[in-house]
Symmetry: C2
Amino acid sequence: MKAPGLGEFGRIREYFAPLAGLGSLDLTDDAALLDCPPGYQLVITVDQLVDGVHFLPDDSPDLVARKLLRRNLSDLAAMGATPRYYLVTSALPKTRDDEWVRRFAAGLAEDQHRYGLALLGGDSTSTPGPVSLTLTAIGHVAAGQEIRRKGARAGDRLWVSGTIGDAFLGLKALRGDYPELAPEHRDALVNRFRLPEPRCELGPRLIGIAHAMIDVSDGLVADLGHICETSRVAASVELPLVPLSAAARQLVGRDTALLAMLVAGGDDYELLFAAPPEADDEIAALARGLKLPITRIGAVEAGAGVRVVDDKGRDVPLPNAGWRHF
Amino acid sequence: MKAPGLGEFGRIREYFAPLAGLGSLDLTDDAALLDCPPGYQLVITVDQLVDGVHFLPDDSPDLVARKLLRRNLSDLAAMGATPRYYLVTSALPKTRDDEWVRRFAAGLAEDQHRYGLALLGGDSTSTPGPVSLTLTAIGHVAAGQEIRRKGARAGDRLWVSGTIGDAFLGLKALRGDYPELAPEHRDALVNRFRLPEPRCELGPRLIGIAHAMIDVSDGLVADLGHICETSRVAASVELPLVPLSAAARQLVGRDTALLAMLVAGGDDYELLFAAPPEADDEIAALARGLKLPITRIGAVEAGAGVRVVDDKGRDVPLPNAGWRHF
């Protein structure tokens, strides 16, 4: 069964054991130990990437690893949790050699250092299909302080971190759209598509401020819909308030239809939250402290559903909102 | 993007939400909460199944689900942990319809009830490749009491639960071998291949008894090798002592070469552990109490490596030991 190369256990020893943290038992046991500081609760999430669905076969394995990790970190941030541990599984076709695995592990190494978490365990297998990866991330949050999707109240303001639509435009640019775009703008957009920037510092700081929160992965409108549904409220988004990067602004100009596509797009990995008007100053101070824009884009209302309105308060028609796999 | 049928969120609502436990936040949040009882530690493990590698395309989805869950439960049992929670991911080709997902969830429902754990979260995606599933299982163990692979000492006895080799023979029977076998024996072997019986009751009861433990998934000899390596000891297995089911005994007869294949095989999901001679009586009492055979098969010695010997103490040559994916 053993192909030339490091083999299953060799890959673990060479590439993954150096990433292992306390509790991993050096990846030499059947399971790992998870420790929870007194007064805290653990928060757990899992996500997956499939070659040809979430990334392209030629994508650099270290970027794929970092995207996989960061998508999960974004989910932890959306609960107000601080990342601590992760487990990773890979199903790899035989064509992905030790070098691919080495680079994949190097990507994990870089980002686990950046975000302060450590590998606890995992599993690898061969597959006749495309590369299929999963990552389970575990963080902690002070007990009872987690921020949920439910909890938004009529009268709350809606806020979003960073900028919206860059990943959507980056994917279009990768596919050949916008040849007129300046190279630095093109790179900025493509990088946002290739590598999300999870708001791990912001998330935990919103404990006690945000009534409800979600990370924008399915699309701003679809994810706001999730908040509204679980909170049993309505929300309106003022399209002209949606924060755009310099690159996106250049492409959007006065094109309201494109702007509407950006709020229906996805892969932003920004934090979208509802907070009462009394929190305005604290939120402004947080934005300054983290050097991260946090923009008010709308309001929570009584009722149900999400409305998107233009600068005259008129409803803006939206393209098919939110990505569905089935 | 939305195909006819329930859709991604509909499948979660219909099939998976009923499986969700406390902390899952009804599967409506970005992540789930993990709670750890005071004085305990959480134990976590992850495993995966790929269509065409670990199961066959026509295998019943409920059996696939239960096998996926049980492989992980076996890893928890090997640490002495009691199962509590799990998360599940699926990458499914579009040909796997709602009915496949419904039956997959029904298998999880049956076994989570049997083993006393609950769903915490998960993720589903489409894939152009084969069905690819992962399951992360979480259990708890009294703090500092977990049983590890390391800890076996020269002079310890080696014990194994249940019977060895049934899954190996069951797979061969499925592939057309042993047409002479009585139907009830054939069914017994095939069932052991299709559905492992994780030793969840035994594992936690070996705390304070076993010095080292592992579950037999790669094969008895290969997994014993893992204990020896991490414990820095040697071990010998007396081949005639290896416990066989009635069905396996009929096939093996005096065929030492086939018996050697069974200890090199895998997928037994029995517990293999080292314990001092003083524990003999306690182990016998456990076996009686659980109505589960626990058989002494050899001894731990100073040195390195695993020897398999016949009834005259002569070394038995082994086929290629233990499954490797790469």
